[in-house]
């Protein structure tokens, strides 16, 4: 094991690569280093100087260390490509990062300021006249940031003990493609997980009910009637039979859901199965995790088809019980979701990718003749060259100034940016509370189905509560991540506020109930809100892009869609290559995550 730092006089630049022979067990302490230096670093930003990169030719350059970029880097280096992975930030993960409390606040605020601090760079100062140089800009994903603190600063100490996710709430499903990818790539050795203990659905009368999401959960459930239990379980079996998950393989064809049904709206299929409204809501919003109100199709932006609905159900079901030591379907990484991109970066580094943080890219270089992408011009002034380029979602190539005969290229690029489709927004909130919503349960998910809070609430609100056993906050405090899709900031924030208030309120009444049931537990702490941050994130979907741009954090609870787009992107740049080939000699790839 050897860490070869390049000869460099710049102590603050994190810059390293690992020889390809490095084996497992390699420790990657970069993030720690950053956090120790973060304050010092800000003051030194002025006289910051950049390292030079050698070699300067790569198969692939990746800009940004978000999860999709890191997966592309890991996968590409696994198939033997030389990879340069850059990030202008001093930390890994981009929009998939987790921050300490101070860092979180300052990052959010910096994001809001950014549009103003447009540096005018002389794009014509190019040294190399063989290339057309197009300036790279970054776009801001967040707006309407609102940070409130109801607590003295000591309550929120130490700041470093917090790991706040930028794009929460987000979890992994035990059987989802990201978990598979981690097992396949060996990235699982760099992260530890814990399961989310329980999930609840909010009912209009202000109560939280455990989501009956598995056979034994339905058995234990006390809120459903016997017939409802029967109906729900039968529907689960129907879906399991459709995917051949049942033991009996006889008449597999007969048990499949008909094609006609698969193409019909999921809500219609559920109605056809004679399921009562209560159960439909559980299936749609608390298990299939659908966002938009399916009951009013005229207003619904995304009417989910049966095909997609049952797939989500099947994912949930195969997640329950996949790992013997995971209780339910959902997993969360200890130290926050920022661990995931880092894990893939480590995997990439083990395979020989070169990592340079704090290295902004000034512009992209295009061949004047062929008008093809050739390389990057870095903030250091150095030009590096690569055959392929992949960029994080916050980087955009603005419409280039009208010039020269290279209209084709410009057209292409400008078209590219036109084809970015703004797809609505997601309202997110992070709250710090003292006391859990449910006594005795620290990590839990709560789903508020559409219109359960407000008549105008058209999307589901999801809340993820995490406790200190996930090492994301100090003892006795809890994090609440809240999100909802929305058309505008006001609408989104209204839903989030309603959800947070409802939780604090119903947990109080609930806790009183339980305390009367169990007189021994009289010291139930009702949760109080100490701090919260609420912001709106743009959801932009890249439709067609000549420069490969990675997906941004979406409004979903899981990573499945992000991974799907990432795989497509990989297939686009390396057609026919295997996406993340299995790690050789995987050391003990037991499916045991604790």
């Amino acid at each position: 094991m050897k860490e070869t730092s390049r000869p460099s006089k710049k102590p603050n630049t994190l810059f390293f690569s690992v020889s390809a022979t490095v084996e497992g067990g390699f420790h990657f302490l970069v993030l720690k280093e950053i956090s120790l230096k973060s304050e010092e670093e800000e003051s030194m930003a002025e006289d910051f100087s950049f390292p030079s990169i050698d070699p300067i030719n790569f198969d692939l350059a990746v800009v940004g260390t978000g999860l999709p970029e890191s997966i592309i880097a890991a996968s590409s280096s696994s198939i033997g490509k030389t990879v340069l992975h850059l990030d202008p930030n001093s930390f890994y993960g981009g929009h998939f990062s987790s921050f300490s409390l101070h860092e979180f606040t300052s990052f959010l605020q910096s994001q809001q300021q950014q549009p103003n601090e447009e540096e005018v760079k002389d794009s014509n100062s190019s040294l190399d006249t063989n290339y057309t140089e197009i300036e790279l800009k970054s776009q801001c994903l967040y707006s309407d940031i609102e940070i409130t603190s109801n607590a003295s600063s000591e309550d929120l100490e130490p700041s470093r003990k917090f790991c706040l996710d930028l794009s929460g709430p987000r979890v992994l499903f035990c059987a989802d493609s990201v978990v598979n990818l981690m097992l396949k790539s060996g990235a699982n050795h760099h992260v530890e997980f814990k399961s989310i203990d329980a999930s609840f659905i909010y009912s209009e009368d202000g109560n939280l009910f455990t989501v009956p999401d598995s056979r034994s959960a339905i058995f234990k459930d006390r809120s459903l009637g016997l017939l409802e239990k029967n109906q729900l379980m039968r529907f689960f079996k129907l879906v399991q039979a459709h995917f051949g998950l049942n033991e009996s393989t006889l008449d597999q064809e007969k048990k499949r859901i008909s094609d006609e049904d698969l193409e019909s709206p999921f809500i219609e299929f559920l109605t056809k199965q004679m399921l009562p409204a209560k159960i439909k809501a559980i299936i749609l919003y608390a298990i299939a995790m659908i966002d938009y109100d399916q009951e009013s199709p005229e207003q619904c932006k995304n009417l989910v088809k049966t095909k997609d609905g049952v797939e989500k159900l099947a994912l949930y079901h195969s997640s329950v019980g996949r790992f013997t030591n995971a209780l339910g379907a959902l997993l969360y990484p200890i130290y926050g979701q920022g661990e995931l991109p880092q894990a893939f970066c480590r995997t990439a580094a083990v395979k020989g990718a070169l990592y340079v943080l704090r290295m902004p890219v000034r512009s992209l270089l295009f061949d004047k003749e062929s008008r093809h992408y050739k390389g990057l011009k870095l903030a250091s002034g150095q030009a590096v060259f690569s055959d392929q380029l992949v960029m994080g979602p916050s980087f955009i190539v603005p419409s280039p100034p009208v010039l020269s005969p290279h209209t084709d290229l410009q057209q292409e690029i400008s078209q590219g940016s036109i084809l970015r489709d703004i797809n609505g927004q997601v309202a997110r909130a992070v709250c710090i509370t003292r006391g859990s919503i449910k006594s005795n349960i620290s990590n839990m998910l709560v789903v508020f189905p559409p219109r359960s809070l407000l008549p105008e609430q058209v999307t589901a609100v999801r809340v993820l509560q995490l406790g200190s056993n996930l090492s994301v906050c100090p003892t006795n405090l809890f994090l609440l991540y809240v999100s909802a899709l929305c058309d505008d900031a006001t609408q989104g924030k209204k839903s989030l506020h309603a959800a947070i208030n409802a939780l604090l309120k119903c947990s109080m009444s609930k806790n009183r109930e339980t305390s009367s049931l169990f007189p021994n537990e009289s010291e139930v702490v009702t949760p109080t809100l100490l701090w919260s941050a609420m912001y709106i994130q743009q959801l932009t979907k890249v439709l067609e892009d000549p420069i490969s741009s990675c997906p941004m954090p979406d409004g979903n609870l899981g990573y499945t869609n992000i991974l799907e787009s990432t795989e497509k992107l990989f297939q686009k740049i390396y057609p026919g290559e295997e996406f993340m080939p299995e790690a050789k000699a995987p050391e003990n790839v037991d499916e045991q995550e604790s």
Binding site: R215, S216, K220, L226, L227, K229, N230, M233, R234
Partner: protein
């Protein structure tokens, strides 16, 4: 653990298994050598260790080790060496179990060692958790758990909680449900704290098991537990008299005959006695023991000495639904037409006990009157006056006015029996069954073809009718019969593999429907009257023919019957028929009896004179499977002194006919029809004539 198909062996495994077999053979012969020569040295033990480690199924190996332990323990006295011997065995068992955790020999060996008392049980729960985690349904582990908890005196409530936890994590666990039923039975029996109210405990259990059967009706484990619960709910604790012969308040006319060959056929209140006695039959709601002259008092002026009661059962067990004794009349009784009262009292002292150990504790009495009558028939002229009984339809006339005294069902008021159930218990019982019925009706609306749901509903409906019949003061009309019959008909179609069971259940309900009520029974009661027979001889025949019955029951309603036609049904068994002690003529023709074993109940009918078993399947099957199905195979009751050789002939092998010999030997048949059975040939007829000296008609023809 379950539902994993076996993989076929590949050639490499083949070679390995040959090598393994050779090794096993070698070790085994060494073990046997040591065993025979009583060698218990360290080396010898090592060999048995290796063998059992490889194959824990070798019982000889375990037994050898037991002998070795006994031998070696004798020589040792210091605790250290004893401990090392015992620990060695425990270690071996654990090793063997990790190879095959379902090895009976290994689990037994462990119990044996621990029972020696040299070792603590602290380690055992760790072992159990390991095995119950690997397979939560492993019944060996659950058995062992019961053993360990009993040895360690673990409170049963803790173990009950353990089963709750196991069921909560996966309710498809027969062993957990079973253990729960065992623990609950104990707790309820002991009336442990928190378990004093059977009603409350059962209500909670119903709630739990409903979750299982509703969440997954396809999973059988919950249904089994539900069946157990239902049994706990409906089975009355205490035995109860439900019927008798003669019945309460009846006026019996007992006729004597002197030296007449012809049986005088009787009606329900008229009994013809040949031997100067007449039977008294008690029928209970469950098999009981302990009916004797000390538990039943009979007041009858001629009854001087203690009566001898006999259980009516084909098994050797001392328990039976029906008990019989014979009341004797003085040899010479001139006082014709004099009325004698008879009173029967029981329940005043303890002693009549059900199989669950409950005593008959409802003081009850019934009384009837007997009129003795000496009948003077015209002197029989040789044998010519006797007529062969003709089962043809022409011989029967419908009873348009059925005698009112044909009301064989005892009402509880008449018996002066206090209610079987405490009012609260009865209320719980009716409410529980009613709720269950409503629930399963709902389930069946959802899942139309849930077989076990239908079966459960049918059982519940039957239970409901039974409870209402015995617990309502006015005559209760069974309201559920039609629905039950329909359910069983459906089940026969839905589940052809078990159709014969459903058919049997259907038959029992159908039969009950026909005879439990006066109106419907009267449709099946006929007067038998040959053209020449006098009115006096007219007899009532119950004709239950052509009903496609496969099983019969409801014997408590049939104790009075002397002439019964069950022909043209699908009967394969007549279990319980032994209770019908008055039966003198029986037609079982055109049924599905496949052996004499199936007819065994007839052997206890001493008055049976006329038997028709024509057109059955006796002798068709070379192997008599009834023997395995019957609760009382004929062979169990073979008298030691039976001399088969007497009936042996050169051309008849005893092996083929011993059953027939056994069956007919005790019978006093006058008329027998056996045509249409595979066994029936000329040789067999010769054997029959030898076996039945009183036989006058065989296969419709006069003998001689």
């Amino acid at each position: 653990m379950h539902g994993q198909p076996r993989k076929p062996l590949n050639p490499d495994d083949d070679a390995a298994s040959i090598a393994k077999a050779a090794k096993l053979r070698n070790l085994q012969s060494q073990l046997l050598h040591n065993h025979h020569n009583k060698i218990y040295t360290k080396e010898a033990l090592e060999i048995s260790w290796k063998l059992l480690e490889l194959n824990p199924e070798i019982y000889t190996g375990w037994n050898y080790r037991k002998l070795a332990v006994e031998h070696n323990l004798q020589a040792k006295t210091d605790p250290e060496s004893i401990k090392s011997i015992v620990d060695e065995e425990l270690k071996l068992v654990e090793t063997a179990l990790s190879r095959n955790y379902k090895s009976y020999g290994a689990w037994h060996h462990r119990k044996w060692i621990l029972n020696k008392g040299f070792s603590s049980f602290d380690h055992e729960f760790r072992l159990l958790n390991k095995f119950q985690k690997a397979d939560s349904r492993n019944f060996h582990a659950w058995n062992y758990r019961r053993f360990v908890t009993a040895m360690k005196n673990i409170p049963e409530k803790e173990e009950l909680q353990y089963t709750t936890d196991m069921i909560n994590s996966n309710f498809s666990n027969y062993s957990a449900w079973h253990n729960r039923s065992v623990i609950l039975s104990n707790l309820l029996k002991r009336k442990a704290e928190g378990f004093t109210s059977k009603e409350n405990v059962l209500a909670e259990e119903y709630d739990l098991v409903h979750q299982a059967v509703f969440v997954d009706p396809d999973d059988q484990s919950g249904w089994f537990y539900h069946l157990w619960l239902l049994e706990q709910t409906v089975t009355p604790d205490a035995p109860m008299l439900v019927s008798s012969w003669p019945i309460h308040d009846s006026d019996m006319i007992v006729s004597f005959k002197s030296n007449l060959d012809e049986t005088l056929l009787s009606t329900s209140t008229r009994y013809c006695s040949e031997s100067g006695t007449f039977p008294l039959i008690l029928y209970f709601n469950q098999p009981v023991e302990g009916v004797s002259s000390s538990t039943v008092t009979v007041n009858f002026m001629f009854c001087k000495e203690d009566l001898l009661w006999r259980p009516l059962s084909t098994t050797n067990s001392k328990k039976s639904h029906a008990w019989v004794t014979h009341l004797k009349f003085p040899d010479k009784e001139d006082n014709s037409s004099k009325v004698y009262p008879v009173e029967v009292r029981l329940g005043h002292s303890q002693g009549i006990i059900s199989s669950s150990g409950s005593h008959y504790n409802f003081p009850s009495r019934f009384a009837f009157k007997v009129t003795l009558q000496c009948v003077e028939l015209e002197a029989a002229e040789g044998g010519s006056g006797m007529k062969m009984l003709d089962w043809g339809d022409g011989s029967f006339q419908i009873c348009e006015d059925l005698p009112l005294d044909l009301s064989p069902i005892l009402s509880l008021d008449q018996l002066k029996i206090s209610r079987n159930h405490e009012p609260t218990a009865l209320h719980f019982l009716i409410e529980t069954i009613t709720t269950e019925i409503a629930l399963f009706r709902e389930l069946l609306l959802e899942i139309k073809c849930c077989k076990i749901g239908k079966l459960t509903l049918a059982r519940l409906l039957i239970a409901h009718d039974a409870i209402m019949t015995y617990n309502t003061p006015v005559e209760y009309k069974k309201v559920n019969t039609e629905e039950v019959l329909e359910l069983f008909t459906d089940l026969m179609k839905l589940d052809p593999t078990h159709s014969s069971y459903y058919k049997d259940e259907h038959s029992l309900v159908l039969m009950e429907k026909v005879i439990s009520n006066r109106k419907s029974m009267s449709k099946h009661c006929f007067f038998y009257g040959g053209s020449s027979s006098s009115n006096l001889c007219n007899s009532v025949c119950l004709r239950l023919n052509k009903l496609s019955l496969s099983k019969i029951g409801s014997f408590e309603h049939l104790l009075w019957v002397q002439m019964l036609d069950l022909s043209h049904n699908e009967l394969h068994s007549i279990e319980g028929l032994e209770a019908m002690q008055l039966l003198s003529s029986l037609n079982l023709g055109y049924n599905r009896f496949s052996s004499f074993t199936a007819l065994e109940p007839l052997r206890s009918l001493q008055t049976l004179k006329v038997l028709d078993i024509s057109y059955n399947e006796i002798g068709v099957h070379s192997i008599d499977t009834t023997r395995y199905l019957c609760s009382s195979p004929l062979s169990h009751t073979v008298e030691d002194n039976c001399d088969f050789d007497e009936y042996a002939r050169d051309d008849v092998k005893i092996a083929d006919t011993w059953e027939a010999v056994m069956f007919f030997k005790g019978l006093q048949l006058r008329q027998l029809n056996m045509t249409g059975n595979a066994i029936s040939d000329d040789n067999f007829r010769i054997l029959l004539l030898k076996l039945l000296p009183k036989l006058k008609w065989l296969d419709g023809k006069g003998v001689h």
